[in-house]
């Protein structure tokens, strides 16, 4: 017979054990900001409970079946001079047992599965904040129709309130995924003349304040990997003051018009006037809505609404920190910062324009 595999098996087992330990240590550390394993909302906890049920069943089955396999491998390895083993062809009793047992185990998984399907597929039982989510290549648009807010990439929600998302896409399929708060749902394109509009719902109630990463989960073109998102859960008071700020010049509030007092204050501010001049002459206005410009109230432009860029923590769909230097770099070379993105400058901006724009965008929080 061949060399006994026992030694190699043991060596492998040691290695596998070490790896498993490493992985486990890695898994328990808190460095995962986009994980499904630390749920922070009602719906993700439901899903996590269900998943853990199947994981434990899987562990039991894994240990028993792999155990039986490995036992058989050691116990029945041939030795010199072995007689021919008994030529069994089957055993009906045993075969029935091992058909029935998995069926029973599956029933233990199927019942909570169906229960959870029912719970998670229900329309939001108690929606308190309505948000429309629109996927674009490669950024996310959020509209709060009742609160009058339009923003991009960073979804801001109050803690402890049920958020009800209605989601679609402006171009290709995407999938909005916030692992800790909401799980994911595909979004489907709705064009001007689309008759059967497929709007997917998703709801969640965040249970702790914080910043949560997420990203697009359906291949959507060259920058699919960089179609990030962030959900910022604020206390109720913080959320309300955020809404108050965002409502200024929002397309959903009086078509983007602002109070005369605010408008005249802006017009007296050279940061605003110089920035706005660059915004218009540099061509930004072609694709972006911005407070104080003639198109402040426009919806469905090609690029994200920039009215309150200064209040966002990231740019480029959760790609870069929203710092003056990053913003300047982005304006200098958007294709270099995010290759293939639909942001194409009609002409290169001058350094003077860039610094005027950076100051202008950061001023409007």
């Amino acid at each position: 017979m061949e060399r006994s595999p026992g030694r190699v098996w043991r060596a492998w087992l040691t290695r596998a054990g070490l790896l498993g330990l490493l992985v486990l240590i890695a898994g328990c550390s808190q460095n995962y900001h986009q994980t499904t394993l630390l749920p922070r909302s009602d719906i993700t906890r439901l899903i996590d409970d269900l998943f853990m049920t199947t994981v434990w069943w899987a562990v039991v089955v894994f240990v028993l079946v792999e155990g039986a396999l490995v036992y058989a491998l050691f116990r029945f390895r041939s030795r010199p001079g072995d007689p021919e083993p008994e030529q069994t062809h089957g055993n009906t009793t045993v075969e029935i047992i091992w058909t029935v047992i998995p069926a029973v185990i599956l029933a233990f998984i199927a019942v909570p599965t169906v229960k959870t399907i029912v719970k998670t597929s229900l329309p939001a039982p108690n929606p308190q904040v309505d948000v429309e989510v629109i996927g674009h290549q490669w950024w996310w648009e959020y509209r709060y129709p009742k609160l009058g807010v339009v923003t991009a990439n960073e979804l801001v929600v109050p803690v402890g309130k049920m958020v009800n998302l209605r989601m679609w896409s402006a171009d290709v399929l995407h999938s909005w995924w916030s692992p800790q708060l909401a799980s994911k749902r595909d979004v489907f394109p709705i064009f001007n003349n689309t008759r059967d509009k497929k709007i997917n719902p998703l709801w969640f109630t965040a249970d702790s304040v914080g910043d949560y990463s997420g990203q697009c989960a359906e291949l959507c073109g060259i920058q699919h990997a960089r179609m990030g998102l962030r959900v910022i859960v604020k206390s109720e008071a913080d959320f309300e003051s955020w809404v108050a700020k965002e409502r200024v010049g929002s397309p959903l509030v009086e078509g983007g018009k602002v109070a005369a007092a605010i408008d005249s204050a802006w017009k007296a501010d050279t940061v605003h006037t110089k920035g706005q001049a660059a915004f218009m002459s540099g061509g930004c206005i072609a694709c972006h809505a911005m407070v104080g410009t003639p198109l402040a109230g426009a919806l469905n432009l090609r690029g994200p609404n920039l009215s309150h860029t200064g209040g966002r923590t990231t740019i480029g769909a959760n790609m870069y920190e929203n710092t003056p230097s990053m913003l300047a770099q982005w304006l200098r070379d958007p294709q270099g910062m995010k290759q293939g993105s639909h942001m194409v400058l009609p002409r290169p901006l001058t350094e003077a324009e860039i610094s005027a724009l950076v100051a202008y965008l950061r001023m409007h929080q």
Binding site: M1, E2, A16, A26, G27, Y32, H33, Q34, T35, T36, L46, I47, F51, T54, V55, A58, F62, V65, E66, L69, A72, F76, R77, S78, E84, P85, Q87, T88, H89, G90, N91, T99, P102, L106, I109, A110, T113, V114, I117, V118, S121, D171, W177, S183, R185, D186, P189, F191, T194, R195, S213, G214, Q215, A217, E218, L219, H224, A225, G340, V344
Partner: protein
């Protein structure tokens, strides 16, 4: 084995058909030679697919990787998937179908030898066609699943950044159409071969398990491929003629593509795995010295898997929001498949139980397949649960799952088959020491590469991303995976060394080096052109063991005979000519948006195809 539409009198083999050398391979209709052509071709494309995987792993070794461009990365994972499925695992299975279905059922060839050659040539030309895309700088980049409307041409108005659609997806669409024709032709051939060319006495329930699983695969191929053919036609029309099959701006629905694709795509999964199940079911009994446990249960669990496999496609689409009823139905149907799969696993363990196990390389790979498939099966049950799938779909968890079933399952099964059948194919035994090193490195590398992917997926890493940012905790596990990928590369290099070493060694394999149970071991290694001088008579599912017992435990080495009185089909170059005509016809569809007179080439290809088919139909077959 008559295949001519009109059977002429059988002339002797025309002298311009050589028996050896280049032209003999071009004109061959011998199932064994065609099998070897399939194997060699698939091996090359398997290497290409592997190189694509390694480049991806290098890109992902750290955050913000810059080794390749985002669009190149998209092309890499698209072509890695497409290559491994259609140009790797499927033709490697066809390698074994070709070589061993006739040998295991006691036939002299497949039922339509020239159709068999045609299948191979169409496959080869389709495989080259789809890879030519790299050379012209337009590799497919829409994923192996090609979801509309990303793959529809008028997705968004063109801009400087996204100019008019390139030929990338067209290569994928037309390439898959060509490969589909090859698959259906081959499937029809093996389907009829298994039904009609079994040796006297080989009833359906005496067929070797590899033949049974292959039989099921052929039926799946026949029923699943037409669906993707239709889907690809629609997509082609959307791209070229302004239709709206999958475009919402004209009333179409991108979800329709997903339904059509997965009605094909899910049976395709079983098309990839069942041959490996069949091989394991051959190898485990032989090296346990005991027949397959629960033969009938194995047969019917395979049939059941295939049947239910047609009713679970929407479990790929839970995230599309189908509603609780569809979710529940497809979830439960998917879980039900776990039962027959479990029966198979238990029967394999039952086969080992009480046996006398010899750990040859083939046996190690077969046992490895069982061990790894269990992992893939269990993670499969996890995302059969729609709520859990909402977190797992389109993440690395799924990548982990299907590499456990396709690498751990299919590739390990095929490797077991390679070590088991190599002596029969080439008359040379692969080196067992190198083989065992190959196994252990593959086993370790495989687990290092794919096991951490479970964690990455659960920790939020999506699939098909060219890079990931720092700070999400993805760095360490990605490094481990890249190291694992290189362990697999090393293992594969050992396999190549083994092949070269064996090639240069003496051709001294006996007819039956393993004490095999099935008919292929009753004839010399490698077999003669006609396989069996006389059709064998079969009295059980282990005919060679019957013979061995009847002979009192000692069988003489079978001798080679002249076989002059055995008529074998004539070689023919018309299958190749027909395949070329078909490829010209299909390639012309690439030019629709490029050249106003594209249909001139279509007509030319059609004429060429028809001419070749008529010459083929009226050609004397030597029978």
């Amino acid at each position: 084995m008559a295949t001519s539409v009109l059977e002429h009198k059988a002339p002797a083999i025309p002298h311009h058909y050589p028996k050896t050398g280049f032209w003999s391979w071009i004109t061959t209709v011998d199932h064994k030679r065609i099998g070897i052509l399939y194997g060699a071709t698939a091996f090359i494309f398997f290497l290409i697919g592997g190189i694509e995987a390694v480049i991806m792993r290098l890109q992902l070794i750290g955050p913000n990787g810059k080794l390749v461009d985002p669009d190149t990365f998209n092309a890499l994972f698209t072509m890695h998937g497409t290559t491994m499925i259609f140009l790797g695992v499927m033709p490697l299975s066809a390698f074994f179908f070709n070589f061993f279905i006739p040998l295991q059922i006691g036939a002299r060839d497949v039922v339509f030898p020239r159709l068999n050659a045609f299948s191979y040539w169409v496959f080869l030309l389709g495989a080259i066609f789809i890879n030519v895309s790299f050379l012209v700088g337009a590799p497919p980049d829409g994923g192996w699943f090609g979801y509309a409307n990303l793959t529809s041409a008028r997705m968004i108005p063109s801009t400087a950044a996204a100019p008019a659609p390139g030929l990338n997806i067209d290569f994928w669409v037309i390439g898959l159409q060509i490969l589909g024709i090859a698959s259906i032709a081959a499937a029809l051939n093996f389907f009829v071969t298994i039904i009609n060319l079994r040796a006297p006495g080989m009833t359906l329930l005496r067929m070797p398990m590899f033949v049974w699983m292959s039989f099921i695969v052929q039926i799946l191929l026949l029923l699943a491929f037409p669906v993707i053919t239709v889907a690809l036609v629609f997509l082609m029309m959307d791209r070229n003629f302004g239709t709206s099959f999958f475009m919402p701006d004209g009333g179409g629905d991108p979800v329709m593509w997903q339904h059509l694709f997965w009605i094909f795509g899910h049976p395709e999964v079983y098309i990839l795995i069942l041959p490996a199940f069949g091989i394991a079911s051959e190898v485990l009994p032989v090296f346990s010295r005991k027949p397959l446990f629960g033969y009938t249960a194995m047969v019917f669990s395979g049939v059941f898997i295939a049947f239910v496999g047609f009713g679970v496609w929407s479990h790929h689409m839970f995230a599309t929001g189908m509603g609780p009823f569809a979710d529940t139905f497809f979830s439960l149907a998917t879980m039900v498949i776990a039962i027959p799969t479990g029966v198979k696993i238990f029967n394999w363990i039952g086969t080992l139980w009480g046996g006398s196990l010899r750990f040859t390389t083939a046996m190690l790979f077969a046992v490895g397949m069982v061990a790894l498939f269990i992992v893939g099966g269990l993670s499969g049950v996890m995302h059969a649960s729609p709520p859990a799938d909402l977190q797992q779909t389109d993440t690395y968890f799924i990548v982990a799952h299907f590499h456990y079933v396709l690498f751990g399952g299919s590739i390990f099964g095929l490797a077991a088959g390679a070590y088991y059948w190599w002596p029969k194919i080439f008359g040379r035994l692969l080196d067992e020491k190198l083989g065992k090193a190959h196994f252990w490195l593959t086993f370790i590398g495989m687990n290092l590469t794919f096991f951490p992917m479970h964690y990455l997926g659960l920790h939020g890493m999506p699939r098909r991303v060219y890079t990931y940012p720092e700070g999400l905790g993805f760095e360490f596990l990605n490094q481990v995976e890249t190291v694992g990928a290189f362990v697999i590369v090393l293992a594969f290099l050992l396999f190549i060394v083994n092949i070269i070493k064996t090639w240069m060694g003496p051709a001294n394999a006996p007819a039956d080096p393993w004490h095999g149970a099935t008919l292929e071991w009753s004839i010399p290694s490698p077999p003669q052109e006609f396989n069996f001088p006389n059709l064998p008579r079969v009295g059980s599912s282990v005919p060679q063991w019957d013979a061995w017992r009847a002979a009192g435990g000692k069988l003489p080495e079978p001798v080679r005979v002249s076989g002059d009185d055995i008529h074998m089909p004539n070689p023919s170059y018309w299958p190749l000519m027909a395949a070329i005509g078909l490829t010209i016809l299909m390639s012309s569809l690439m030019l629709i948006r490029q050249w106003d007179y594209w249909y001139a080439i279509t007509l030319f290809g059609t004429a060429w195809l028809f001419f070749s088919v008529y010459r083929w139909a009226f050609e004397p077959t030597g029978h």
